[in-house]
């Protein structure tokens, strides 16, 4: 493999890491509040606003129903509005985050729902206000499930980021497509796959370790 190709791969690896990292960060910052909203605003929740809950739930389903490759293109006007450009790494981050946020929110929502209602009652009985319940009961008790969900989300995003080449964002998937698929350079293809396997494994291992630590107490 030529030194240029190695440089190209290194650059692509960094691009993928950056795209996935930033959009995962956005997915966490937006997805957790969204999940908390979905759980607490439902009927009988601690912030009951059932109508708004239903509307937000429908919107989340809507975003989840659209395939990523379609979202990538459909969001181009929005992307331009937010980051001022429609090509490059930042142009991929917007659709990646938009797609990952509802995905992650739904997984986090399941974990939050599984928190024993008895704990919420106990918290109410000791004089916790509603935000105390979110902070001291819902989030910490659901944390293992949320971290597990984040692991799944990041792995899915690594896969989705391969399509980011469509908006010229580069990344590993783009290299594999251009050199491996279109120019039949099998070596490049194999190296990219190996790197992706290592990345996914590292994410999975880290996530599993954190979850195990949290559950061990």
């Amino acid at each position: 493999m030529s030194p240029q190709m190695i440089d190209r791969l290194w650059q692509a690896f960094q691009d993928t890491l950056f795209m996935v990292g930033v959009s995962a960060g956005i997915a966490v910052l937006a997805g957790i509040p969204l999940a908390v909203f979905l759980v607490t605003s439902g009927h009988g929740g601690i912030f009951p606003t059932p109508r708004l809950n239903r509307i937000v739930g429908l919107a989340v389903n809507g975003f989840r129903a659209v395939p990523f490759i379609v979202l990538l293109v459909a969001l181009i006007p929005f992307t331009r509005l937010v980051v001022g450009t429609t090509i490059g790494v930042w142009a991929a981050i917007v659709p990646l985050a938009v797609s990952a946020t509802p995905f992650f929110a739904r997984i986090a929502e399941v974990s939050l729902r599984e928190v024993d209602p008895g704990l919420i009652e106990a918290a109410q009985s000791i004089g916790c206000r509603r935000w105390h319940i979110i902070r001291h009961v819902l989030l910490p008790e659901a944390m293992p499930g949320i971290i597990g969900g984040l692991t799944i989300t990041v792995v899915t995003m690594i896969g989705a980021s391969a399509m980011a080449g469509v908006v010229g964002a580069g990344g590993l998937g783009d290299v594999a497509m251009r050199y491996g698929y279109q120019r039949f350079d099998t070596n490049v293809m194999l190296v990219v796959i190996a790197i992706l396997i290592v990345m996914v494994s590292a994410v999975q291992f880290t996530g599993d370790t954190v979850v195990r630590r949290l559950k061990a107490r």
Binding site: D116, G118, L119, E121, A122, A123, Q124, S125, I126, G127, C128, R129, R130, H132, H136, V137, P140, E141, M143, L214, R217
Partner: protein, 369 residues
Amino acid sequence: MTDAAFSAGLRPSAVQGVVSLDSAVRGPGTVRFEGVGKVFHSSAGEVQALKDISLDIRAGEVFGIIGRSGAGKSSLLRTINRLEAPTTGRVLVDGQDISALQEDGLVRLRRRIGMIFQHFNLLSAKTVRENVALPLQVAGVARADITARVDEALKLVGLEGKDATYPSRLSGGQKQRVGIARALVSRPEILLCDEATSALDPETTLSILELLRDINRRLGLTIILITHEMSVIREICSRVVVLETGEIAEEGPVWQVFGAPRHPATQALLQPLQRDLPADLVAHLRPTSQGPRDRAVIDIRYAGRAAPDLSVLAQAAGAGLELLSAGVERIQGHSVGRIVLAAGPGTDLAAVQAAETTARVIGYVSAND
């Protein structure tokens, strides 16, 4: 710290060096239910969980709530800290109607009312110390004060040295002690216990009861507890209410209700406690007399008074009375007893009943049994 100083530190009314946030509003710990009703709307339709409950719970007493499953015990208890809002009627805590409270008032009310649960409901992501500290932390108590008060509470329940442990590492009894410490750390005036010992083995149950009784005596707080274990009621309660399908079946001092249960629901609940009717006798008991030589079985129960004079009864009977079984126990300083007699043919049952008005014929056994 001496025991006395220590208990004074946790006493609701004591204002020591550590000033409690809302000590000004703390009262003696009375609860009054006025015509409380509760209807649940569920997919299966409406459920009337409580019907017109009126009841007074006095400051500093240990009050028991019993009843069959689904009778409405938890619903009633949970109206006291408004985990459940009554559909009709009012609940007054220290004379204050709690139904009108908004979130601020409710939070302040709940800090005066501790609660412990059957399944402990401890936060698994927090250590013992963090669990016990939470009520103070959310009340904005200063960090140094929190440490001191958590130490006090842990000492009170006998869990010193466990503060860095996570609840999953504790036994059931220890978990309930953490629950009690968490409930007491805000120095409440009332402690609600919903089947707090139901998940514990008999020995641990006794130690938890001992602790509750101790807390009641030393801190003077009112304890209101639900249990399916009648022995728990007999052990620590002064008064008891029996609920049946959401209504009060009977109510009164434990020695009275247990000594002479009037309502069928109470009698059914107390059945397992009444070991004094021998099993072989029960097996032979027939509802009606089958022949002239059958003997009537007379059951006498008494509570809070001296045992009936057997010689007087024998005289009234005229013919032979045989003592089949007898048992006396003391509940809160009152004698509660049961005497079972067999009366041979020719006994003057009416005269026996005249001499002892609680005497009841509960069946017949044949002469050779």
